[in-house]
């Protein structure tokens, strides 16, 4: 054991130690910075507390798995195709019979005697390239082609992720996770959010806004509404429900006959924010993009004195009279609480979802439960660690103390590396942590028992230490590599929590190899290395 070599070792260990602490603290500083909104300046304690990101099971928050109803997007596609054909029909170019949707991604068109089928084929080829059709007598059945389905589904999921991200961003959650999983699932994790219901509503709200001219109404029953048109809904109109009093959602239902084609939709919205109406009630005002504004200007200018219905998700919010030409902005009134007005503005700003969402999995951990479990867990773990340390020192004396140093270093390296990788510590992660520490303790125990054995066989202390380390080394490698091999498989094939377990374990065991073998030996070298003859080993 040359002297110089010992100091190289010490230098390397110090570098690792400093790097680990630096990684941990740096992560803490950057995370506290993004978290703190108040005026209070964070202290060292805050940085240390936040060095590692805690999972939702520990910190509290919401974990959601949503499924995008891609069929909704198909429906929109089908409706657009049908609308296109109907328009051609109106212009008398195709002369088709009824065009009806038969499923989310299918529709049929009846071909009359005077329909020009060549023209129809041509129109489909040019304007509906995503559609395949088969002829069954006078009926043509259209179906969305497989690649188109795939593309549209893909787009819908992508757009849903974007929309959700927009909405969450405005909500001001720090470190949200919004990720796509599998074909049509989206995972959303919102640490620290303590009002699950509100967030869920905001995420899931389709918020499809349409402004439509009122043809007739309001009327408390459908038949009366349709009396002027002979009991039939005109082809370019539709019936939509609302309440007799805007401000009260429990007021009786009324029906309006609205123009089917919207004057403007949510897509035309440039910005929206919560505001108040003339009576100081919460409302949402919005402004339109240039194109939408031109349209809106034309429609309102031509229909002064008529009513304009504000339809949100197929329900009439209110139907104010158009008093004059409005170009680029408007206001939505209704029975809003300040909170709801705020949320609606947020949702309108973020755009409509392309398809409905279904919650497949939903986990909420209240902040107090999370806090409670951390506190108890940390207390228990610290007590456990203390017991281990005391036992080690009592049983192995001075060497036991060396082992304790190595163990603490092990924990520091593990935390540093996890912080550096931006890993999240969850309950299963703690399981991995415990196994790691268990194996690290075991490595030291293995070495010490070997040294004792060697001493019993009458070897000199120096030889006993050397042999102890070299003999235990192989065993330690074997145990560690076996466990890492299995952890690698867990990482590769496991999901969420199992993966978290594997990550902690792999990192921890790498650190344990280093501390148990290299660091422990270095400490022994420091203690006994300088002397030519060692009389005894404290073990």
């Amino acid at each position: 054991m040359s002297h110089q070599k010992v100091w190289t070792r010490v230098a390397l260990i110090l570098v690792v130690l400093v790097a680990s602490v630096a990684a941990y603290v740096a992560n803490g500083v950057s995370r506290v910075k993004t978290d703190v909104t108040g005026e209070t300046t964070p202290g060292v304690k805050d940085y240390l507390k936040n060095g590692i990101r805690l999972g939702l099971d520990l910190k509290g928050g919401i974990h959601l798995v949503l499924q995008v109803q891609t069929e909704d997007a198909f429906k929109i596609e089908a409706d657009e195709a049908i609308a296109h054909l109907n328009e051609q029909n109106r212009e008398q170019t195709l002369k088709l019979g009824a065009v009806t949707r038969t499923g989310p991604a299918t529709f049929t068109a009846v071909v009359n005697a005077d329909t020009d089928t060549d023209k129809l084929q041509d129109a489909v080829k040019r304007f509906l390239p995503a559609w395949q059709y088969s002829r069954q007598g006078t009926t043509w059945a259209f179906a969305l082609s497989a690649p188109a389905r795939k593309n549209i589904g893909e787009e819908a999921v992508q757009q849903a992720v974007e929309t959700i991200r927009n909405r969450i961003d405005q909500f001001g959650v720090s470190e949200p996770v919004i990720a796509r999983e599998g074909e049509n699932r989206i995972v959303v994790q919102l640490p620290g959010v303590d009002d699950p219901r509100r967030v869920k509503d905001i995420i899931k709200s389709t918020a499809f806004l349409e402004l439509k001219l009122v043809v007739a109404g309001p009327s408390s029953d459908r038949a009366a509404l349709l009396a002027p048109t002979g009991g039939q809904v005109p082809p370019d109109a539709e019936i939509v429900e609302g309440n007799s009093t805007d401000q009260d959602p429990t007021s009786p239902k009324v029906f309006y006959l609205l123009q089917k084609v919207a004057a403007v939709t949510g897509r035309d919205i440039k910005n929206a924010r919560p505001s108040q109406d003339q009576n100081n009630r919460p409302a949402v005002s919005f402004s339109l993009k240039a194109e939408g504004a031109t349209k809106f200007d034309k429609v309102t200018g031509a229909n002064i004195g008529k009513q304009l219905a504000i339809v949100l998700d197929n329900r009439i919010q209110s139907a104010p009279r158009i008093d004059g030409r409005i170009s680029d902005s408007g206001i939505i009134t209704g029975s809003f609480t300040p909170e709801r007005a705020n949320d609606l503005a947020l949702i309108l700003r973020s755009g409509a979802l392309p398809a409905g969402l279904v919650y497949l999995e939903e986990r909420t951990v209240g902040p107090s439960l999370g806090l409670d479990s951390i506190k108890k867990g940390v207390t228990a773990a610290l007590l456990g660690a203390l017991l281990v340390f005391v036992t080690m020192v009592v049983y192995y004396r001075r060497s036991g103390f060396n082992a304790v140093l190595a163990l603490i270093l092990n924990a520091i390296i593990l935390l540093g590396v996890l912080a550096q990788f931006g890993a999240t510590l969850t309950l299963p992660g703690i399981a991995g942590f415990i196994l790691t520490i268990g194996m690290a303790v075991d490595s030291n125990v293995l070495i010490f028992e070997r040294i004792r054995e060697e001493l019993r066989e009458g070897k000199t202390p120096k030889t006993a230490i050397d042999n102890g380390f070299s003999k235990a080394f192989l065993t330690i490698v074997d145990t560690h590599v076996t466990t890492v091999v299995s952890a690698l498989f867990l990482f590769q094939f496991g999901t969420g929590p199992v993966k978290g377990f594997a990550v902690t374990l792999i990192v921890g065991l790498a650190a344990s190899m280093f501390t148990a073998v290299y660091v422990s030996k270095t400490i022994f070298m420091l203690e006994y290395g300088s002397r030519e003859r060692i009389e005894s080993v404290s073990i």
Binding site: T379, A380, V388, E449, K471, S486
Partner: protein, 415 residues
């Protein structure tokens, strides 16, 4: 201090008794599982809903049950959660046939309506809402008249008020009366007044709500199973490669043994299998494997050094030589998990219990199962191989039973 110095215990002498005990435990586990009508899978795997509510006053599970029964949710039970003085209740609802039903909301509304929670009048339930709701609602009315409406300054001002309200709530547990609102620190009297007028004090709050749809539950189950199977397979192959096939078999038998017994005992204690339990099971597999490999390593070393000794003696010596270490390591790990079991709280309880059982079983198995299996496997191999040789070429008359055993030993001593 030194325990177990230079022991000479004949562990293999009792191998058949131990194998008998192991079988008895495994069978007992299976009987328990059967008696409970299968393993109790938590909602992670079976799907379903689990809600923990905290009440302002001591809740009556029977009453809650009678409120929820008419909803036809598939209510499985309402039980107390954690310690009685915490007023916490766990509500469980079976998996729904279809995705998409919002059970949490239904339970919440029903209980709220029956127990005097907020009506639809737009009032804020101070016990349920989060800091963001307080912040935006207050910012919209601006009771403190902070420069202009909804400016950034106002938003920040009310954000800190929202935080103060929530912090005070988690400190006192739940708001019980308007007087509690008055006591919130760092909030202006105007803001408190607005809050008192526009809020209700709900009877309970949601501590946690988990809802796993049938599809996700199925996915989690198969994925967890595959991950575990593949990683166990990888261990088998690795040990086979590093040692010998008989060691690999012994290790795997020990792992399966530990897992079966632990799961059986969890069933006996009527615990649920959740993802966290799977993590604990993986921990104990890792732990047991570590123990086993340590013993194997010593066996291999002794085989190299004492080629003449029969395998059973080598194994016995090896276990004795590592006994001190085994007891020490297991004992230390045991200390940690026992601390977690008693002090870790409700969330960590089943996790810690799994580890407590696992460490006992795992330590036992690496001494009394993994090593004897190697001996037994070796005997079977030793018996079979010479027999095959005899069949091939009628050998000169067998020289007694000792010969084949020695042959087997030489083979295994090779590494």
């Amino acid at each position: 201090m030194e325990l177990f110095r230079d022991t000479h215990i004949d562990f293999l002498r009792v191998k058949w008794i131990c194998i008998g005990i192991s079988w008895a435990l495994i069978v007992a586990g299976f009987i328990s599982i059967a008696a409970h009508g299968g393993l109790r899978f938590g909602i992670d795997f079976s799907g379903g809903t689990q809600i923990v509510l905290k009440f302002a006053n001591r809740p009556d599970p029977g009453k809650i049950e009678s409120i929820l029964k008419p909803l036809n949710l598939g209510l499985e039970g309402v039980q107390r959660y954690d310690t009685p003085e915490k007023n916490e209740v766990l509500i469980k609802v079976k998996q729904q046939a279809r995705e998409g039903r919002d059970i949490t909301q239904e339970v919440f509304s029903a209980l709220s309506a029956a127990m005097g929670g907020p009506a639809a009048g737009g009032k804020i339930d101070v016990n349920v809402k989060g800091h963001d709701t307080f912040a935006t609602s207050l910012a919209a009315v601006d009771p403190d008249n902070v420069n202009g409406r909804l400016g950034t300054a106002a938003a920040q001002h009310y954000a800190s008020i929202g935080d103060a309200i929530v912090a005070y709530r988690s400190q006192i547990g739940l708001f019980r009366s308007a007087a509690d609102i008055d006591r919130i620190p760092n909030v202006s009297p105007e803001a408190k007044n607005w809050l008192k007028q526009n809020s209700v004090i709900g009877p309970f709050t949601v501590l946690s709500a988990d809802n796993v749809g049938p599809q996700v539950g199925r996915d989690l189950r198969t994925k967890a199973l595959w991950a575990v199977l593949l990683s166990t397979g990888a261990m088998l192959v690795y040990i086979w490669f590093r040692f010998d096939v008989k060691f690999g078999v012994g290790a795997i038998v020990a792992i399966i043994h530990d897992t079966l017994i632990t799961i059986g005992l969890l069933s006996l204690f009527n615990r649920e299998i959740t993802l966290v339990v799977v993590a604990a099971l993986l921990t104990l597999v890792g732990y047991s494997m570590n123990d086993t490999v340590v013993v194997y390593d010593r066996i291999r070393e002794n085989m190299k050094n004492n080629r003449r000794d029969p395998l059973p003696k080598i194994i016995n010596d090896s276990i004795n030589q590592t006994l001190s270490r085994t007891v020490m390591s297991s004992g230390l790990t045991f200390l940690v998990v026992v601390a977690l079991f008693f002090l870790g709280g409700e969330v960590l309880n089943t996790f810690a219990l799994t580890l407590v059982i696992g460490i006992i079983v795992g330590t036992y198995s690496s001494i009394y199962v993994a090593a004897p299996i190697v001996v037994i496997w070796n005997e079977i191999q030793g018996r079979r191989r010479p027999a095959a040789a005899v069949a091939k070429a009628p050998a000169p008359a067998a020289k007694g039973a000792g010969a084949p055993r020695a042959a087997g030993n030489r083979k295994s001593g090779k590494r």
